[in-house]
């Protein structure tokens, strides 16, 4: 044998041997066998194959914990309470957990590998979350960058949900996106039509799910949804609802108001709805909401433009929606009536509205929102 070949051959043999040792070690060391997951004190018990992250394992068993990043540990949404020992909080989890959550053993389910029997607590509502296949019935342009997507649920064929809840839209791999992605969208549809779901999707430049909806989603196509999720809902109190939204944040309110009218629920509640947009081309559902004002006298609609131009002939309120809200809370809404806040929009908008509401004597404990983008 040529001496020149001895070096490369020896290196190859050693590399092969090392690879074999690593593979065998992995099979032995990382073989966790069957693991029992006890959920909510015996309410559900699962026998699963150990070794995988909890989030994906729960999903494969039909228990869908919300997640917006596909288990990469970058959204912090998939929190569960772990009651058995799974080791210390990982550095990848700490940015998302408050000291209180850490003291209560709240963990990110995407970061917990199932190595032994485990007990966890999740909100009971998650037992009712399902994955749906649906057929797109219509796609309507509400503005140049907001579409209403209406789907017919096929399997399961209906969804029970509360107005204000959201679903996760599942996008398939496309273009250079190698994996399926889920993003949360509030449902704008009425629960009174349980075989249909409507979502309002605003185009986010560079956004994976919104780009897919705008570019690839067509009428007649099948798609997947996971839901329902979320705590955002109308609270059964006599307090007036002060609702604020912008853009696709319209969705939960469009669902709530129509459901309240249809079922005449919470009849004592007065409703004020502040909707902010930059210009009149960003406004939608104006006619529908003004019609609702006529049909439901306790409903007051306040649309406002932040950058209206003279040629738009806008006769409504102007200014940032927080300024408009402040003016109404100070001068136009009965100050003696108790109030509660309902917000849907970007975290920045929600924080700014909370400040205005607190300054105007709405208790923070009575301000409700779902903060997501």
């Amino acid at each position: 044998m040529s001496p020149l070949l001895i070096g490369p051959l020896a290196t190859g043999a050693i590399s092969g041997l090392l690879a074999l040792v690593i593979a065998l070690t992995d099979r032995v060391v990382n073989n966790y066998g069957e693991v029992t997951m006890d959920i909510n004190g015996g309410k559900k018990s699962l026998k699963v194959k150990g070794g995988s992250p909890m989030l994906g394992t729960l999903g494969s068993e039909g228990i869908f914990v919300p997640s917006a990043c596909g288990g990469r540990g970058s959204c912090g949404a998939c929190k569960v309470r772990v009651l058995s020992d799974v080791g210390p909080v990982l550095p990848t989890e700490t940015p998302y957990l408050t000291p209180q959550e850490i003291s209560q053993n709240v963990r990110l389910s995407c970061q917990i590998k199932l190595k032994k029997d485990i007990q966890i607590e999740i909100p009971d509502e998650l037992f009712y979350v399902k994955k749906y296949t649906a057929k797109v019935e219509s796609i309507r342009d509400l503005t140049y960058d907001i579409k209403e997507v209406r789907v017919l649920l096929k399997n399961p064929s209906s969804m029970e949900y509360i107005p204000g809840q959201y679903a996760q839209l599942v996008t398939p791999p496309y273009e250079d996106i190698p994996e399926s992605v889920q993003r949360a969208y509030s449902m704008s549809s009425r629960p009174g039509e349980p075989d249909h779901v409507e979502l309002l999707v605003r185009l986010v430049p560079g956004g994976i799910a919104t780009s897919w909806v705008f570019k690839y989603l067509k009428v007649g196509m099948d798609m997947e949804l996971v839901g329902p999720f979320g705590e955002f809902r109308v609270h059964d109190t006599p307090a007036a609802m002060i609702c604020v939204a912008g853009g696709s944040g319209m969705a939960p309110f469009w669902s709530m108001f129509r459901d309240m009218k249809e079922k005449n629920t919470f009849p004592e509640k007065e409703i004020w709805y502040f909707f902010g947009a930059r210009s009149s081309r960003d406004m939608f559902f104006l006619d529908e909401l003004r019609a609702l004002e006529k049909e439901m006298p306790r409903f007051h609609f306040v649309p406002a433009l932040s950058e209206s131009k003279p040629e738009e002939n806008w006769t409504g309120d102007t200014g940032l929606i927080t300024d408009v809200l402040d003016r109404y809370l100070k001068g136009k809404i009965d100050p003696s009536r108790p109030k509660e806040g309902y917000l849907c929009g970007s975290p920045g908008m929600i924080n700014a509205c909370i400040d205005v509401m607190i300054r105007n004597a709405i208790p923070e404990s009575g301000i409700y929102y779902d903060k997501f983008a």
């Binding site: 560079g206 960003d282 920045g348 983008a373």
Partner: protein, 150 residues
């Protein structure tokens, strides 16, 4: 140009599905050091400075924040919208984590549109990485030069 171990690791983390579903490289198959070096040369040729551009991107981001999710016209020329998302993203070089957000700025004069995040600004300022060709979050030096030209 030769890649260091750190650059090779960062390059791996920039691929789709690692830190973000889309990754940072677009359709660019060049080595990381080549991407950075080429953009540094373009910055020099165009008279741009990474610090100054990063500062301007942050100014536009802060201006867009005032719109509370809606676009805001800045100085009569740039239309900026700043949106937040849940969570944080680590830098591929592992030297920090950054709030997930998305800023889009349109120059109404030139028509250029750029999309970026707090992480993009860090990548530009500290690592001189504008992202790969074809990445929707790429901060193209030529576009930046047009947008910053008074």
């Amino acid at each position: 140009m030769k890649n260091t171990r750190m650059e090779k690791d960062a390059h791996e983390r920039m691929k789709p599905g690692v830190i973000t579903a889309r990754g940072f490289l677009g359709r660019d198959s060049r080595a990381l050091s080549d991407i950075v070096q080429t953009d540094e040369e373009t910055f020099r040729r165009l008279g741009l400075e990474f610090e100054a551009v990063a500062d301007r991107l942050e100014t536009w981001r802060d201006g867009g924040t005032r719109g509370l999710g809606e676009p805001v016209t800045l100085e009569g020329r740039w239309l900026a919208r700043t949106g937040d998302a849940r969570g944080v993203l680590p830098c591929p070089w592992e030297d920090g984590v950054f709030h997930k957000n998305s800023v889009d700025v349109t120059d109404t004069r030139s028509g250029d549109l750029i999309i970026y995040s707090d992480l993009s600004v860090h990548l530009l300022r500290v690592h001189h990485f504008c992202q790969g060709l074809g990445s929707p979050f790429r901060l193209d030096p030529e576009s930046l030069a047009r947008m910053m030209k008074s």
